[in-house]
Amino acid sequence: MTEELDPTAQDSDGGSEEVVLTPAELIERLEQAWMNEKFAPELLESKSEIVECVMEQLDHMEENLRRAKKGDLKVSIHRMEMERIRYVLSSYLRCRLMKIEKFFPHILEKEKTAHEGELSSLSPEELVFAKQYMANTETYLKNVALKHMPPNLQMVDLLRSVPKPDLDSYVFLRVKVRQENILVEPETDEQRDYVIDLEEGSQHLIRYKTIAPLVASGAVQLI
């Protein structure tokens, strides 16, 4: 279920619905994506459409401001708004880059084995960045140390050496869409697994792994 978020309503391919968002809704989506990304231990789905639309909005606002009268109160307010939006957008993209750099072998491995039609967690530009980061680091390690080591030790498996994201870490969330029968797996041998319902509007502290798919579907919001 992909939504075309482009306010200029361009042709979308493959039977996706076109939903035109108001600017306020677009910014709300951006903030939700930003918070989810900040609090999730792993890299989430790429939201390139939101990023593109927000950048367009920022351009429009800049245009309007240039044409406005100087000293108009609205100018200061709109400028402040623009700064806020730019901060949230930058912070969102920075958060993603940091995770990409931190978990690069695992993320790239996942991309390789992803099936057709599965939503990518990397935008095309992020994928290029990730590959360059990996190549850069591998080349460096090889030239500075590995190629001077005994022949049977020259290969380092980055998938094993670089830590994976900790999906068992706890996150705070708020429920947006009621969920039933969520299976909570036990942490220790003494516990048994149990089933919970998530009421709309309730807030929980729970292991990320249990609710990861709900974050992707938008049923819960990380806070």
């Binding site: 950048m55 200061s76 880059l97 140390a145 050496s161």
Partner: protein, 179 residues
Amino acid sequence: MFCEKAMELVRELHRAPEGQLPVFNEDGLRQVLEEMKALYEQNQSDVNEVKSGGQSDLIPTIKFRHCSLLRNRRCAVAYLYDRLLRIRALRWEYGSVLPNALRFHMSAEEMEWFNRYKKSLATYMRSLGGDGGLDITQDMKPPKSLYIEKAECIKDCKRSAKTMGADLKDLSLDKEGII
């Protein structure tokens, strides 16, 4: 004791607080690599002896040396990788041009890695959005001026201004608006 030099490299970084980059310990790394070479050659000759003479009491020593080799490699790679992470942080802290003091602490290869990282990041940032891209190394903190000014209403402004996120209701005479 084997791997002492390797442990020293790791300890050196452990002692340096986050964000600091000590001088690249070229000597230390070289000694670790030399020790690895020596261990490997000793193992090679022992392995040949075992193969030909069947002296199986050499096997524990071979295993021990192999463990030392693995440990040396792990420490060396950890040392180099951790330094890369610190160098990466420098780009975000100081921008594209590093202060001279820091540059002298980096090896030539580390400098190359840094330059390539810078370039890769710049390409990514340029690709964002439509025309010029977005410099995400700016706007590191939320905008500070939550309040622009205390506006004293001297005129009755009946128009309401709509912004992206909020509606400014009518500004009327009896209120002092703090925006």
